[in-house]
Symmetry: C2
Subunit: 240 residues, 2 copies
DNA sequence: GGCTAAGCTATTGTTGAACAATCCCACAAG
DNA sequence: CTTGTGGGATTGTTCAACAATAGCTTAGCC
């Protein structure tokens, strides 16, 4: 069955190179990292709403990990801005204020503009991912699956940044979106949050495909301004 | 001696507000945070060169902290990309390759362009900080203090990003520069690294002052391209 | 009544020791 | 020259302990 090849010898198809790419999928850093991912998910889906105090004893018992391991996970979450650490008081799920949201959208503007400017020289796969995200969002809207519309929207904007082809920009955009989800939790309905922007995403990819990067930048800027204001006003209503 | 004022009563000079700004300087999050800062400094100044293995036992004994506390500090450094964590092997001071440097400079281009575009609407203090950094660099060059020229250069570029007025962009630029210092360590002399760029910084602020943002963007782009290539070639020579 | 001060309790900050799992190295065997 | 095989060191994780702190409760006072 198996062919008689020597993996130690350099070969035409780089099987080894491809396997090396999967290395990080297996060698997960261990318990602390996994705990951090679980908490990230629970914060993102609202199970741990902003302001919640993350008791070391309670969480440690619930997850079956020691306090030390839990504290390591907390460090990661603090650096991701998902929780805040108050000395001798504990860690709390972060509560964003309108200033935070405004700043996040300012950064999004910088990042997504950078991606947009690289659209002309972007690889076909990256442009295809952009189109796929928009199409996926429209399909989810047709099916009435508004949470999926939301994730498709974020996938679209992450794909927009990815046009620049910069791993660090990609990673930062991912972090930013995780932080932004804290603000989305304040919105009453996912539909009201994402439906108005479906058509703009479509328009942006169309303008990119037509080579009108400047036009796309204009639509994008209006998108971000409007989304930011929508969330900020919702937060102000909720807070007052 | 002391004046008889009630700090609880709102007063004209906001002494309390200014004190509150210093709160984070005192109420440091504790041992782990301080350990992380010490290690950051030692990595930046080359005392812990890239590739060094950070033994838990040795470092814990040297710093007088427990392994658990040290591991918390490691998490922060991993998130800052200053060290890499290999499962069951330990943490090592990060070794950058030319691809990393190229990516870092791509992000710098995006961030500093963003600051540049905000120059027209930036506050006078921020523009003054920009000028001060350039002048400080020139003074240090006159005194032959090349390490100081280097920090002044980085201060200038951080001030450039700060024109955008975004806390998150500022923080990310700071992180990026900390990472970039890992690459600077591969350069043989601080003078060769920073001297060629003194005049370009001066030129950039002059163009900004003249309102020629587009011209400044051009000089900046050439700056970043040249600096990136200089470091990358030095790394390739060093590695081979 | 409302305010201040002292004390109690629960939680966090940090340490030290313990044990299993894993990696690295040296060495022997084929 | 490659392939097992120990042995030793280091990491991953837990547990138990103690000091320090925050927040609440209660007592005392005007």
């Amino acid at each position: 069955m198996g062919q008689d090849v020597d993996l130690a010898r350099p070969s035409a198809d780089d099987t080894l190179g491809r396997l090396a790419a999967d290395r990080d999928l297996l060698g997960r850093s261990g318990t602390a990292q996994r705990v951090a991912e679980v908490l990230r998910d629970r914060i993102a889906d609202g199970a741990l709403p902003p302001g919640t105090r993350l008791s070391e004893q309670a969480l440690g018992a619930a997850l079956g990990v020691s306090r030390n391991t839990l504290r390591e996970a907390f460090r990661t979450l603090v650096d991701g801005r998902l929780v805040v650490h108050e000395m001798n008081r504990g860690v709390f799920v972060r509560m964003l204020d309108p200033d935070d949201v405004t700043d996040i959208y300012a950064v999004r503007r910088a990042l997504e503009d950078t991606g947009l400017r690289a659209a002309a020289t972007a690889t076909p796969e990256r442009l295809a991912a952009l189109h796929a995200a928009v199409t996926g969002g429209e399909a989810a809207a047709g099916a009435g699956d508004w949470p999926e519309v939301g994730t498709a929207d974020l996938r679209f904007h992450r794909a927009l940044v990815a046009l620049a082809g910069s791993p660090r920009l990609d990673e930062y955009m991912t972090r930013l979106i995780a932080e932004l989800r804290l603000a989305f939790l304040a919105m009453p309905s996912a539909r009201a949050l994402h439906e108005p922007f479906l058509r703009r995403n479509r328009r942006i990819v169309d303008l990119i495909a037509a080579g009108d990067t400047a036009g796309a930048a204009l639509v994008l800027e209006r998108y971000l301004d409007d989304a930011c204001e929508m969330i900020c006003t919702a937060m102000r209503m909720d807070g007052a």
